[in-house]
Amino acid sequence: MKHVFTFDPDRCCACSSCMIACTDQNDIDLKAGEKCFRKTYDTEVAFKEGGIYCAYLSTACMHCEDAPCIAACPVGCISKDSDTGFTIYDNTNCIGCKSCAMACPFGAPRYNGADGKMVKCDGCYIRVKHGMKPACVRACSFGALDCIMEEEYRNSGSDKACNVLIDQANLRKKEALRRWR
């Protein structure tokens, strides 16, 4: 039951419900300087040739197929959950070296202020194993963020999987980004 996160940038509005849900689910202590595993963006990107694209995005760990963070960690904190295929971690031995962040193309790993240890989105894999959606997905009212079984994803013919999103964003030609002004 491998799962894939999908994201549809044309359904997102950066409302950040997903972030709040992640904060709620993972007891993220903002006061102590901890950061939510998910991050949303309401960003205006200007094109050189003129025009602006108003991006609404929500990102967390993309649970990369061949996750470079796993090999980067010198103490072996990061691994794949065999059921869900999510990139999970056990930071008992984490030395806070940020090698994982250097390997991650998406800036997914976070570091706790208190002990400097790495934390990140684990795909809510325990929830998923119990038949529930990840907390952030459950909180998205607009169907922008989803988490579905791999077969379902493959059959859907969609190009919205998070772990390929970065390439998709490249492939989708500039014209396809609806510009404003």
Binding site: C12, C13, T23, D24, C54, C124, S141, W180
Partner: protein, 712 residues
């Protein structure tokens, strides 16, 4: 970590983890919403929330605010016990007292004011979250005061009045059956999350969407086939111009107009004053875009229009703007037909369940008529259509004490920051003999009260609630009330007993009152409480489009009124226009001196995802999403003024000044500023003049006022 520890950490409900899901509802925002909540509870503590999938209203969905419920209810500034003020008003120094003591003091103080002045000198005022209003309303009348007021004075009522004047009913867009959705000031995402799904579905089935907004919003980006970025407050002119185009191009439904409308000829004459070029000059729009949008709306029917609750009517030309927009539905025959705008009526506290309760009777039964309400005779349309005082006159009456003094306020969730010139209002509190406020939090306003009562949240109480689709619910507490807090209605019923009010119903308690109100619907509170989910009411009937028009509109003419007979009947001294003509949204601030000094058009009170009025600014999770109050400014304006993103800026109007940070954006047009309201440290409403009001409804022009901005 072993498997069980992992499950507990992941908050998986089950016997082994001891985590239970309890059902409740989120009451952070307006009672027009209130989504069903799954509360993950362990040992009486809330661990997390999710939307209830099986709930007929929200089907599992929550907005950003609701998702933060846990952080909201465990806020550190929760009022924990009844409090008595010991310092000066506003300072926030209180000492805890017992509930008995609090009730004793309240009874005594209110009794004194009643005796010394009159019962009307006690004003009862309700802010959010409105759920207890029938009880408070009746309490007020039983006490003998005519003065029951609420935040409806600045909320959605102006739109409601415009609806009543024009069509005699509210009329929401019927998106599931429409072909074209005219999203007039439709934001959706940040203000009404449940409205987005139907628009997405419309787009997926090939329907068209027009968005008219002052900001390039997510809805404009994700949905708009045509986007009209309009100059703030000029929507009325656009609507009249569209009306002219519809008539001139033969897109009007003349049969419908003949059968169901009143005053078409006068309207037709009016719109002759709004040719396309003039409209585009006023609105700043491109004529081709206006033409295409009008054509799409008028010819690709059925078409429906978003009836914006506040964005349009929070302007001093707002009521007539909304009337002008409604007229488009009448012109094209889109009102009261499938896929158009379909009327429906509230069953209980603004919710349209398709069944009737005795809420209004319950509220009105004990109404006294021996005095004018605060503000009465100032705003004739308000007076006619609203059974409460227009709070925009409260400050004046406290200050001037005419026609009679206001000496005490009984507030429930009262929010002074809702009032223009907030600073003057809180100063005027000094003239009060007594002010009691019930609230969950030690708010800016509560700090001015003599007694503060701790209210509990919706998760800590039982509450009756109607839902669309014929549902009624009575929730059970998901967790016990925190500290010594109580449900607002319990406070009122207990206080009624202490004061020995002449009202057996209230004294009998909330559930008895509810049973009284829902009598005749075949259910009792006990039945409702037996279910974890809203219960389908057998008496509920679905809305049948067309039925309303056939029966005749609830307007003086029985028809849709282009020309309002009700307005025509008002004393000419008010200078009101029965036709929905356009006036400038800044008509009271357009003298050359003010214009020069305050060149920007401020929209105070835009919607951002992490706030709702002043209710959640102090919820840390939500605050973290936008830590500072921001004033949005167009990038060119910012460049000209040397303002960089994040710079500290000072925004001023003739009435006041706020300091906040600049947020530079391309989504706003030059000349326009926008900010969210409700911040204590940057309260938008100190910028608003107390008389900057819509002459029909008394609504303040929050979303169109003159300002200046500079770096400081």
């Amino acid at each position: 970590m072993n498997e069980l520890e992992k499950k507990i950490k992941a908050k998986i409900p089950g016997e082994d983890t001891g985590i239970e899901i309890k059902r409740s509802l989120c009451a952070i925002c307006s009672p027009g919403c209130h989504c069903g909540l799954d509360c993950y509870v362990k040992d009486g503590k809330l661990l997390k929330v999710e939307g209830t999938l099986e709930h007929p209203y929200n089907r599992g969905k929550l907005c950003t605010k609701g998702a933060a419920t846990r952080n909201y209810i465990y806020r550190e500034d929760r009022v924990r016990t009844p409090l008595k003020r010991v310092g000066p008003r506003g300072e926030g120094k209180f000492e805890p007292i017992s509930w008995d003591e609090a009730y004793r003091i309240i009874a005594e103080k209110l009794g004194t004011v009643k005796e010394k002045y009159s019962p009307h000198s006690v004003a009862f005022f309700s802010g959010y979250c409105k759920w207890y209003r029938p009880i408070l309303h009746r309490f007020c009348y039983t006490f003998g005061s005519v003065n029951f007021g609420t935040d409806d004075s600045t909320c959605f009522k102006s739109m409601d009045i415009a609806n009543s004047l024009t069509i005699g009913a509210p009329g929401g867009p019927n998106i599931p059956n429409t072909n074209t959705f005219l999203g007039w000031n439709y934001g959706g995402y940040y203000s009404n999350h449940l409205s987005v799904g139907p628009v997405q579905a419309l787009k997926e089935r090939g329907g068209k969407v027009i968005i008219i907004d002052v900001r390039y919003s997510p809805a404009a980006k994700n949905f708009a086939d045509i986007f009209l970025q309009i100059k703030p407050g000029t929507d009325g002119a656009l609507a009249l111009g569209m009306g002219k185009l519809i008539i001139d191009n033969g897109w009007a439904d003349m049969d419908y107009i003949g059968k169901y409308t009143y005053g078409f000829d006068k309207y037709k004459e009016l719109v002759q004053n709004y040719p396309l070029d003039k409209v585009c000059e006023i609105t700043g729009l491109n004529p081709d875009d206006v033409f295409e949008a009008t054509k799409l709306y008028a010819t690709n029917g059925p078409a429906c229009i978003n009836f914006s609750a506040s964005a349009l009517t929070h302007r001093i030309n707002g009521l007539q703007t909304h009337r002008a927009i409604i007229c488009l539905g009448a012109l094209t025959g889109n009102f009261d037909r499938p896929g158009g705008n379909v009327p429906s009526f509230a069953s209980y506290i603004h919710k349209r369940g398709g069944f009737t309760t005795r809420e209004m009777e319950f509220r009105e039964e004990k109404r006294p008529f021996d005095q004018l309400r605060i503000g009465e005779t100032r705003f004739p349309a308000w007076d006619e259509y609203c059974d409460e005082f227009q709070a925009m006159d409260l400050l004046r009456q406290i200050e001037e004490e005419t026609p009679y003094p206001i000496k005490a306020i009984v507030g429930f969730g009262m929010n002074a920051k809702m009032f223009p010139e907030t600073d003057k209002l809180v100063k005027a509190f000094d003239k009060l003999d007594f002010f009691v406020d019930a609230d969950m939090f030690m708010t800016y306003t509560a700090k001015y009260a003599d007694i503060v009562l701790p209210s509990c949240s919706s998760l800590e109480r039982g509450e009756m609630k109607a839902y669309e689709g014929g549902y009624l619910a009575f929730t059970k507490p998901a967790i016990p009330p925190l500290y010594e807090s109580k449900s607002d209605v319990d406070m009122l019923c207990e206080l009624a007993r202490v004061m020995d009010l002449d009202d057996d119903l209230i004294k009998a308690g909330y559930e008895v009152c509810c049973d009284w109100m829902i009598e005749g619907n075949g259910v009792t509170v006990a039945d409702l409480k037996a279910s974890d989910l809203p219960v389908k009411i057998q008496t509920a009937k679905p809305v049948v489009p067309g039925a309303y028009l056939e029966k005749g509109c609830r307007t003086p003419s029985g028809k849709i009124e282009f020309y309002s007979k009700a307005i025509a009947a008002y004393d000419p001294k008010y200078g009101l226009n029965p036709l929905p003509d356009y006036v400038d949204p800044l008509f009271d601030e357009n003298d050359p001196e003010t214009k020069e000094k305050y060149p920007f058009h401020m929209i105070a009170g835009i919607r951002i995802p992490n706030t709702i009025h002043s209710r959640v600014h102090e919820v840390p999770w939500l605050r973290s999403l936008r830590p500072d109050p921001l004033c949005e400014i167009n990038q060119e304006d910012a460049r000209n003024l040397g303002i960089n993103d994040g710079d500290a800026v000072e925004v001023s109007s003739p009435y006041g000044t706020v300091r906040l940070k600049a947020m530079i954006t391309a989504k706003l047009q030059p000349g326009v500023l926008a900010m969210a309201h409700g911040y204590t440290e940057a309260n938008a409403n100190v910028l608003v003049g107390r008389d900057h009001l819509d002459p029909y409804s008394g609504y303040p022009g929050f979303k169109s006022l003159r300002c200046s901005i500079r770096k400081y």
